[in-house]
Amino acid sequence: MEKKPFERPLIKRLNAGMPSKFGMHTHIEALTEIDGLKVEDLVAEHGSPLYVLSERILRKTYRDAYNVFSTRYPRVQFAWSYKTNYLDAVCNVFHQEGAWAEVVSGFEYEKAVRNGVPGSRIIFNGPDKQEEDLKLAIQNGSLIHIDHFDELYLLLELAEKGTGKPKVAIRINMDTGIYPQWDRFGFNYENGEAWEALNRILLSEKMELVGLHTHIGTYILTADAYRIAASKLAILATGIERKYGKVIRYIDIGGGFASKNTLKGAYIPGTDAAPSFEEYADAVSSALIKSDIKPENLPLLVLETGRALVDDAGFLLGTVLANKRLADGRRATIADIGVNLLFTSFWYQHEVLPAQEVSQHTEDTTLYGPLCMNIDVIRDAIDFPLLKKGDHIVIKRIGAYNMTQWLQFITYRPRVVMIDESGKVHVIREREDLEHLIRLERIPAHLKSDDARKK
């Protein structure tokens, strides 16, 4: 006779329907497959932990977002925010779909060029552009978004030295009702600093002002903030046309749309709290269309959407290493995914699902990573099924920021695979190895092992 599958025994106190910090109990569905491929098989072949990206979801999300904006506004252009996920395979999916590149460092700029993005389709943002980076960007005709006056003057100097005529926009920070206001970056709208910068650029005639840019923050839950931002940029654009007869070619509204992840401490899950692309698009497009910009001069709308385009396409697979009881009787489960691989666990309550069928029984669990540190908590309170050592877990919506902010710590960073639209698996980043990690190290002669042993 076939034996029955074993679930570890559980007894749990009933708390008369009181929601605890673990939330009301909801039935947990296992996530056994990603794009038709078994999680078990993926881990067996590529190891655990494992990052998985779905090309199907990447493209679908991009097309959804593009359709929503382009049916509401005549001219729309996405620029892929490299810092969100700059694995070449991911960038190239977005570039194939038609996205430009948005970069914030010399390194990201080099990557975009290497990925074949024409210079004129690279937006160069951020406060840290080195002189060499700027020279290259000027020569390539890239769109340089000026962050501060020091950069503005450096560009003037380079232009005077004959490097070429920089194509520029300025980054503008403003009050959109969002707290905290990101006023570290760019020139302020309300206090007139933005106008000061614009006057300096337009009067010099050494640079070509092509656009206006803002990035009001990240994971913005109120679409109305974008209406305010777009309106303020439109007011500047009409002012520039009135004063200088200069038509602004594009308005770049930055990134910041929320993904469907749930923030820590939030009462409403992200799937309900995050505005849809439709809501953001309505806010931005109606503000631009209703503005005083002449219809024939309506600027190109540029979007630097990061997390909302890539979060859903990423999955992190892992394995249960051990189960423990904490001193107060609470359950602790240790998995092989540490916070170094899931940086976003510091602010998200990530959805963690079992990768095999489970019963409806669950336990209040703290989910730890394998790092020997107290901060290594993936979920501090999760209503979780009874997994055993060796069982697999899937963490959803991890496509944004984790594959760029990850830290190598005590062990190698794992493989990243992409499932293409036909269900074929491609390794897009190899698991690190010792060779890779020590390649940059240098040992002073007197510390070489032979000498060291003599002492």
């Binding site: 034996k3 570890r8 025994p9 009933l14 055993k388």
Partner: protein
Amino acid sequence: MIRLKKNIAVSDTGFVFDPSTGESFTVNETGMKIIGYLKEGKSSEEITSLITQEYNIDPLSFEKYSQDFMDMLKQYDMLEYEKEV
């Protein structure tokens, strides 16, 4: 020998009631089995053998999970120790 306290009530739908504290608990299928065997006065060796015959688990792994389960029963104050006769 360890025993389940006599007054603990167990329903066959997976609910456990402790009349001395008024508290209710849920158990899953394997938990239910173990509690049933404890009530019948079976030893831990007997329980291990019965469970490993019925379920797909080896004795050593089962011991690990049952130990944890017994700790929870102890924590909920449901066990008593009976002197060997």
